[in-house]
Assembly symmetry: D2
């Protein structure tokens, strides 16, 4: 039985063409921009799960990032099309974790990381996960 | 009598220390970031005029950018502390224009430009300028 | 005979999914980010013309932005997939102009603008356009 | 005797006025931007230590970020002037760690985190710390 905290379930892939704006004076992608690519990954994940984050927000179910962790191994460059692979990690009534791996065009792992999120309402107060997106994630994860 | 469309009145100066995140693979500041520095300039301008933009927003008087124009002459680099000089240009009942000049540490003009703004309400509809910020700007500009 | 300064030749389309990072506290895309989307547009244009900008740089043919002009009509939001339509404008021995139109998912024009570029060498000195990319652009534009 | 891995030595403070560009559609600062503020913090730290990072780079001593970790507690907003407090953590022959705390105007801790760095040469190869900046840091840290 797979642990619910390890990355598990479907892998959603996002392709990102590096923008010149994302590079820095060392000639490579600025390290902070991978955190934005993680966001691209989880947006695509929610879309793939059938519950776009914009829809969650419209329904009053927002999330807030409480932790970001990124480990850098190789650098992407302008001209590269990188692949972000996103998987769900821990998922509880109050929040959840996403895991990310960013790959260079040649298949080398460039960066890996995690983000932790909590559910909040429109006023920013912590709340339990709403039923609809929880059900959508559960179905997407294969009937946990 | 000074034209109301040319930059006129007080010059407000902002000092900005270039961030590594703001550079690109050519080793200089990415051109799009000067547009953000223009925003730093007009935020400081409103503060200097005694009517911070955050206060305008809290009172329901928002503005929207309808035009940006920037002309690039020299490049700033990481390590530079640049100076943005901001002045008011045209000011009408529906909107206003800001003028900007960005100077390198040695006093060379790097970039100049303008932004045009319209007053909007919280729903994004065009509106007339509210009295309070208009009065604050008029007083700051020297009793136009 | 079409003027060489008006946008002409092929239209290259780029699709961009709005990132949360690109929005601001007004709930819409921050105006400065359209300037980055213009860059995405011309990167895709050079790719479509068969001469990727990364290849130009590798061959020592760099360009520098000397002017940006953007006019804003409507706002894109998180969740939107916008389309950037890029066309070539003026093209001379020393530089060239790109024209951009950014469309919302419903086909409404959100933003339009232009960027002007000059050819430079690795040391940042102005230079004439290299033959290879000029020939590629000419062929792409239909044998001007 | 203080551990060399815990944050120790001088605290360098950076004041950052939140830019509208740094906010997102939730009305607060986008979480990824704190990673950029960490960079502002360590730039100011190196300046305070008498060895600006731009000088290190000019001398061929570059660093690369291998890990970023950020924990979010409260959100900064447009109009806030936040304070980043930066301290040195672990410091070895191959690399070093910085610790950061970002405080809201009312003194509340908003975000805390760490970044790990390795020394590299101009070609991106790992190298030992150069003598000059190591000596500058040691002196700044109080003659470790």
């Amino acid at each position: 039985m797979a642990s619910s905290t390890a990355p598990h379930g479907p892998v959603v892939e996002s392709r990102i063409k590096v923008r010149y704006a994302e590079t820095d004076a060392q000639g490579v992608v600025y390290h902070g921009n991978y955190v934005i690519w993680f966001e691209v990954g989880r947006t695509d994940y929610c879309d793939a799960a059938g519950y776009p984050y914009a829809q969650m927000e419209a329904e009053g179910a927002l999330t807030t990032v409480i932790e970001v962790h990124a480990r850098y191994r190789r650098s992407a460059r302008y001209g590269d099309v990188v692949t972000v692979k996103t998987r769900m990690g821990e998922r509880k009534s109050r929040g959840f974790t996403f895991h990310y791996e960013v790959y260079l065009p040649d298949g080398t792992l460039a960066v890996e990381g995690e983000t932790k999120h909590l559910w909040i309402d429109r006023e920013g107060r912590l709340r339990r996960a709403p039923d609809a997106p929880q059900a959508a994630f559960a179905a997407f994860l294969g009937g946990e």
